[in-house]
């Protein structure tokens, strides 16, 4: 086989592989979007499944806002998620920096502790917290979710932040020290500006984690006016049937913010995790 045909063949194989992954992701997304614009009659028609809406309708979206208080769920989700993501990012900056830049006694133990937090089944945390929140009257408050989401997202975010710090050359800080900057001045004025993409990425991780969470939400919140988006949508799942049209419309709206954010930051995540010389 000549080199040229070999290249053509490997090019074709790569094309097939890339197309496979693209379809794998795009088809389900296509399906949820298309379904959200169909009428209910069309959705549950068992005889004939349509791959493009026969009748294009916005009724599913209208239903969310008119009869389901989707706007309230959106507000609640935003309050809980933004406060969680902010606090997690701030704590991760300090924790990640400390873990990346210092050698100290107990560092190994601290890392193992992070790993252990990941092994604890969430229900084991939720149950005692539920009992505790009930005692201090925090059930049905934003604070309950904020506390739970903060601690559950913190370990992974801090560890990722640490990897990002480790990718930044230490010479930058040394130069600042020589100029007489203190540690925290150096962190805020020299390191963090370089790290900005990484910080945004960690913020988005925490945002995604809190925004998408369902189980703890259903347990810590009772009244409808406190519900976040996933809990509100879950109310569309009945014992025997699901309101598929409204569900898919709500799903599209729920996926939209995190999808947009992720499109912008995924590049930074790859770059931030890439170590060594190739880093720009």
């Amino acid at each position: 086989m000549t080199r040229k045909t070999k290249n053509t063949i490997s090019g074709i194989i790569r094309g097939i592989v890339l197309a496979f992954y693209l379809l794998l992701v795009v088809l389900p997304i296509y399906w949820i979007i298309v379904t959200s614009f169909k009428t209910n009659a069309e959705i549950v028609n068992t005889q004939h499944i349509t791959y493009w809406p026969h009748v294009f309708t916005l009724e599913n979206y209208q239903h969310l806002f008119s009869t389901m208080h989707y706007a309230t769920y959106l507000k609640n989700s935003l309050i809980v998620t933004l406060s969680t993501a902010l606090v997690v990012t701030l704590l991760s900056i300090y924790g990640g920096y400390g873990m990346a830049r210092f050698k100290f006694k107990g560092k190994g133990a601290a890392t193992i502790f992070f790993l252990i937090t990941q092994m604890i089944p969430s229900i084991l945390v939720i149950i005692p917290m539920y009992v505790f929140f009930a005692r201090v009257k925090l059930i049905d408050t934003y604070q309950a979710l904020f506390i739970f989401y903060t601690i559950t997202n913190l370990p992974f975010c801090a560890i990722t932040m640490r990897s990002f710090f480790e990718g930044i050359p230490y010479v930058l800080e040394e130069a600042a020290f020589v100029d007489g900057c203190s540690r925290s001045q150096t962190l805020w004025k020299v390191v963090l500006p370089v790290m900005f993409p990484g910080i945004v990425a960690v913020f988005v991780f925490a945002f995604i984690g809190a925004w998408n969470e369902l189980i703890a939400g259903t347990i810590f919140l009772n009244t409808q006016k406190m519900w976040t988006i996933p809990i509100g949508l879950k109310a569309l799942v009945g014992k025997h049937n699901v309101e598929w049209g409204a569900m898919m419309a709500g799903g599209v709206l729920a996926l939209l913010p995190t999808a947009i954010m992720f499109i912008f930051v995924q590049k930074y995540i790859v770059e931030g995790l890439t170590a060594g010389a190739v880093k720009g």
């Binding site: 992701v25 400390g98 992070f114 084991l124 945390v125 601690i151 913190l154 992720f262 890439t274």
Partner: protein, 296 residues
């Protein structure tokens, strides 16, 4: 305070907020649940809490479904992790070479990372619906099947749908991490290998793989832990059905905790999961010779 002690204390000042918070918020619930697991602790009978002589553990093991749950959990976690890893590795390798439109392509195929498993779970439940699901329709059109399959109502298939959804949502995690590791491999070592006339496979197994091994070990370890403990897809797609054939230990624990409010029993299941995961983590890190122990 002398400068030297100040220096020594400095790292602790940085990690103190996060460590104290995590120790308190994970430590207290953990100890509390371990204690609960040895008690008769039902939320409906809070005034009758008492030690019960390992009754939760005995009931757990003698439960007629216990071994089915163990089997389901193992099938679920092993196939999901292997599927995600292989597909994620494939995607990372495909993305490692430049091509036109790579940036846009990348931002699309990584999207499932951002998606809520609740919405994804429902989308799969809807697509695999036996009566009006799109999967049956497509398979019929392609001539693979003649009559619609009741995916979620058939033992075996229902768990497979959950695994499929889990793999779908988890590919980007592996792809992103492995891609970053691949891009850290210095280009010079490939040049040297080319000079020596190494083939593609040879290069992959003797150069690339050793280089990205730490990333592979850590991502597999983390992912196994997360998947083993995750149960939202089970709850959303099948609720464990039909007849517990897709129920896993964590989803069973969830139903024990919040439909029968038996916190003692849930605690016992939780302790079991933790022990299994710890043993797994230790053995996995030993077997893979991971030298940067715990350094993920």
């Amino acid at each position: 305070m002398s400068l030297a002690t100040k220096r020594k204390l400095q790292p602790y000042l940085y990690i103190a907020p996060i460590m104290i918070l995590l120790l308190l918020m994970f430590g207290y619930p953990l100890i509390k649940s371990i204690v609960m697991s040895f008690q008769d602790y039902k939320l409906t009978k809070l005034n009758k809490i008492h030690w019960n002589n390992f009754k939760n553990y005995k009931n757990m093991i003698s439960d007629k479904n216990f071994w089915l749950l163990v089997k389901n959990s193992l099938v679920y976690v092993i196939t999901s992790v292997i599927g995600q890893f292989l597909l994620g590795l494939g995607l990372a390798l495909a993305l490692n070479k430049r091509f036109r439109g790579r940036g846009v392509y990348q931002s699309i195929v990584f999207l499932p990372w951002a998606f809520s498993s609740f919405v994804v779970g429902l989308l799969f439940r809807w697509s695999f619906n036996g009566e009006y699901g799109v999967i049956n329709d497509l398979l019929k059109k392609m001539g693979v099947i003649e009559k619609g399959i009741s995916w979620l109502g058939t033992p075996g298939y229902s768990l497979a749908v959950i695994i499929f959804a889990m793999i779908w949502i988890g590919i980007p995690f592996f792809a992103i991490n492995i891609l970053a590791a691949l891009q850290s491999v210095p280009a010079e070592i490939y040049e040297a290998a080319d000079v020596d006339g190494c083939g593609t496979f040879r290069k992959f197994f003797s150069l690339t793989l050793p280089f990205i091994k730490p990333t592979i070990i850590m991502t597999i370890l983390l992912r196994t832990i997360w998947i083993f403990n995750s149960f939202d897809l089970v709850v959303i797609i099948t609720e464990g059905g039909p007849a517990n054939y897709s129920q896993t230990l964590p989803s069973y624990m969830y139903s024990q905790a919040f439909s029968s409010y038996d916190f003692g029993m849930a605690g016992a299941l939780g302790v079991l999961l933790m022990v299994v995961l710890s043993v797994y983590a230790v053995i996995f890190l030993k077997v893979t010779n991971y030298d940067k122990a715990g350094d993920f």
